[in-house]
């Protein structure tokens, strides 16, 4: 009986997720599609250029389906998407799906490394700042947070290149890998670091690492700033609660108070913040990708937007939207692990 109820509850939850997912996707698809079709940019010019004849123009317009009424275009697009066909990019002549499979791992690799840096540095910094409230380390943490939130990533990236690449020669320059190593390992996962390890090619690994470190650190710095600020705020709130005083009165060690009691209680909101920071890095690192010539989804989407390549824009937006939804879903599930109230 109890098992049956639990199964029903799970089935309800899964149905809810699926419905939310479907509604979000449909909304995303419709909004992106109609905005894309209404912008006053002529995608035919992107294909033919300025010198083409009127007959060539009309033929390509018909070939792209732009002579059809808008609702018909939308229905045809949805049908293709449901068949896994995101269309062909005007800019690369490749299927959009193939392009995304190529560029997305580059962004994923960069954003994941940056988020790791953010968590490893930002969270302890926030905790220390809160436990040493208004002392030197707290001021340092706040300063780091302030600079991180106010400094343009574009400028910081260029300065980073100038110092660590051009002057100190600690890291490699723009791009994912030196041309001499390009294509030396087979693409299996799309992540150069992982593919190099799988191939056992340590020269390629070292070169790829030398290229990714600086952009990852620059993006990671923004994560550090954001995560340390939020962790500090959450911790300050928790450390002023009565249960913390009680714990101290009961003789719990300071380490236990901070990490088990206070930090344990901020883990859930922190999870949301980390998920948000990760999602933002996955779609919001356009400028970093441009400065570092990083062939990721941010620069792919920007290029597509600038050239009215609507299939690529729609495909990328759907991918990023799907990612947001999946990360939110994963966070919801992790809530159940960390928060006993949700489990109940």
């Amino acid at each position: 009986m109890t098992q049956g109820k639990a199964a029903l509850r799970w089935a309800g939850r899964v149905c809810g997720w699926v419905l939310t997912l479907a509604a979000t996707f449909t909304g995303l698809l419709a909004v992106t599609f109609f905005i894309g079709r209404k912008v006053p940019i002529d995608p035919v010019l992107a294909v033919l250029g300025d010198h083409a004849s009127a007959s060539a123009y009309a033929a390509v317009r018909a070939q792209m389906g732009l002579d059809q009424p808008l609702p018909v275009q939308f229905v045809l697009y949805v049908r293709d998407v449901l068949h896994g066909n995101l269309g062909t990019s005007l800019l690369t002549s490749n299927p959009v799906r193939d392009d995304i499979l190529r560029v997305f791992p580059a962004t994923l690799e960069l954003a994941t490394l940056a988020t790791l840096i953010g968590i490893l540095v930002g969270v302890p910094l926030g905790v220390v700042a809160a436990t040493r409230h208004n002392r030197a380390i707290d001021h340092v943490a706040r300063f780091v947070g302030l600079i991180g939130s106010s400094m343009p990533v574009f400028w910081l990236g260029l300065m980073g290149l100038l110092l660590f690449y051009a002057k100190l020669h600690w890291v490699a320059g723009p791009g994912r890998i030196d041309p001499a190593y390009d294509g030396m390992v087979d693409t299996r996962t799309g992540s150069l670091l992982i593919d190099a390890v799988l191939a056992g090619d340590w020269d390629v690994f070292r070169n790829a690492m030398a290229h990714i470190l600086l952009p990852a650190c620059i993006l990671g710095y923004y994560s550090v700033a954001y995560l340390s600020r939020m962790t500090r705020a959450f911790m300050l709130e928790q450390l002023s609660q009565e249960y913390i005083v009680t714990a101290r009165v009961k003789g719990v060690s300071e380490r236990g108070v901070v990490w088990r009691h206070a930090f344990g209680n901020i883990a859930v909101p922190l999870l949301t913040i980390v998920a948000l920071a990760y999602s933002n890095l996955l779609e919001g690192s356009v400028l970093t990708e441009i400065v570092f010539s990083w062939p990721g989804i941010g620069s792919y989407l920007t290029g597509a937007l600038m050239n009215a390549d609507m299939s690529a824009v729609l495909g990328s937006t759907l991918t990023i939207g799907a990612l947001f939804i999946l990360i939110n879903l994963a966070t919801d599930m992790l809530y159940r692990v960390f928060d006993p109230r949700v489990r109940a």
Binding site: P40, I41, D42, P43, L45, V47, L48, G49, H51, A52, S53, A54, A56, V60, S89, L90, L91, T92, S93, N94, D99, R102, L120, V121, P124, V128, L161, Y165, A166, H169, W170, V171, A172, G173, P174, G175, P179, A180, Y181, D182, G183, D203, R206, N207, M209, A210, L213, L214, S253, E254, R255, V258, W259, I290, V291, F292, S293, P295, S299, G303
Partner: protein, 536 residues
Amino acid sequence: MKLAFGAALLRSTTLACALATTLVAFQPAQAGTPKDMLVMATMLDEFSTLDPGEVYELMPEEYVANTYDRLVRVDLADPSHFKGDVAQSWTVSTNGLTYTFKLRPGLKFHSGNPLTADDVAWSIQRCVLLDKGAAAVLQGIGLTTANVKDNVRKIDDETVSITTDHVYSPTFVLNVLGAWPASVVDRKLLEQHQQNNDFGNAWLRTHEAGSGIFKLVKWTANDSLILQRDDAHADPALLKRIVLKHVPETAGQRLLIENGDADIARNLGDNDIDALAKSGKAKSMAVPQATVLYLGLNVKNPDLAKPEVQQAIKWLIDYQGIQDHIAKHTYKVHQTFLPEGFLGAIDDNPYHPDVAKAKALLAKAGLPNGFKVTMDVRNGYPFSDIAQAIQANLAQAGIQVELIPGDNKQTLAKYRARKHDIYIGEWSADYIDPHSNAQGFAWNPDNSDNSPYKMLAWRNGWNIPQLTKETDAALAEPSAQRRAQLYEIMQKQMLANSPFVIMFQRVSEVTMRPGVSGIEVGPINDLVSYRHLTKK
């Protein structure tokens, strides 16, 4: 207690420090580029296809020029002469309509397939029948989807004949046949990859089927393009491998050059060029390009239709000031429609800022206090900067210009629909024959809204039956000398009276590290050759 916490903190910090240490530990595995490989930092965002029958942008034309052969190529030293590429010799029939080309024997494609007259004829037919942007070039000699199979024919395995619809100047016909749309593609290979009678277009968009000095190794859109020397070529290139690397930021290109990670940079800004020249880390070569930057004044606007207003605008712009302060290395003042280096080009730049003269002209036009007008400006350098400077220049005589910024294709779509007042833009020649620009600026056979010809004169509503006749006459003129004279006359007429304010000619700056030499850069990217490129 604090000690225990401190230990935990220490662990985290150690981890972070370890991460930072890797920054130092993973130093670049290699400094500089390998000896037999040349890395060129450039912008590859124009590449949307690799098919010569579809390509129309500048950098892709350069790629085609180095991976495919064609019948003839223009001689950069003397644009009125041509060198055979796959053609050994050619003749023109007595009626001036049929060109017969004899091919060199023993030519081969990169695939190993023999290159025959059948491939040459099929390639030209294919481009016209595909009817993409590139076909417009071949349509210039009267090749249409209806007649191309009859007019471009294989005579035998080593002979091809091409018949034009009218008598054209031979230099014009050879310029058209020497342009990238006439590149010879491997018919046998493309037919293996044909889908739905597309002439292998879908496959060729991302592959290569040529016989040029380099073959394509790998193209990663918006990232890199790798070319490998074809060792079997009759006249092979000097360098083994060339990598074109997409570096969208000019500052990034400069850093790569300074650090030796790129050998050539193609898109440096004025400051970067000056700084590199001063440090001695690189040298630059400036080559005027067949691209002019101009204002199009739409004569559908009654104010802009007045010749005095058109003249006044020309007398208000500070051409030299704009070049010095906005486009020092990348543009040069040029006021006629034929760029420097073209047959018949003249070096007349009569206009300079003269506010008093401009005000007098406006008063004569009945607009002593100026008027209001809009200007469509595409985003980005140099258009926004130049448009703002022009806005300030014209304000001196009371002409109030409202700038309407937009994406390139957005402003272009408005321009092609004749819905603009003033448009600032560029016109690039497809081949270095004067007709490419004369057709753009001085040819409008049908000024109706439904005209099939939407060249620049039409876009600005400029009805010019007489000038159109002159353009056609110059196109048919067989004597190069007489032809040059005809274009000179037309340019002078248009300098005095036209709704085009031609201001600048683009200059290509190729920045090279010491030891790099041999790149041949022509006025169009289709005439850039990597054949003699080498580095020490």
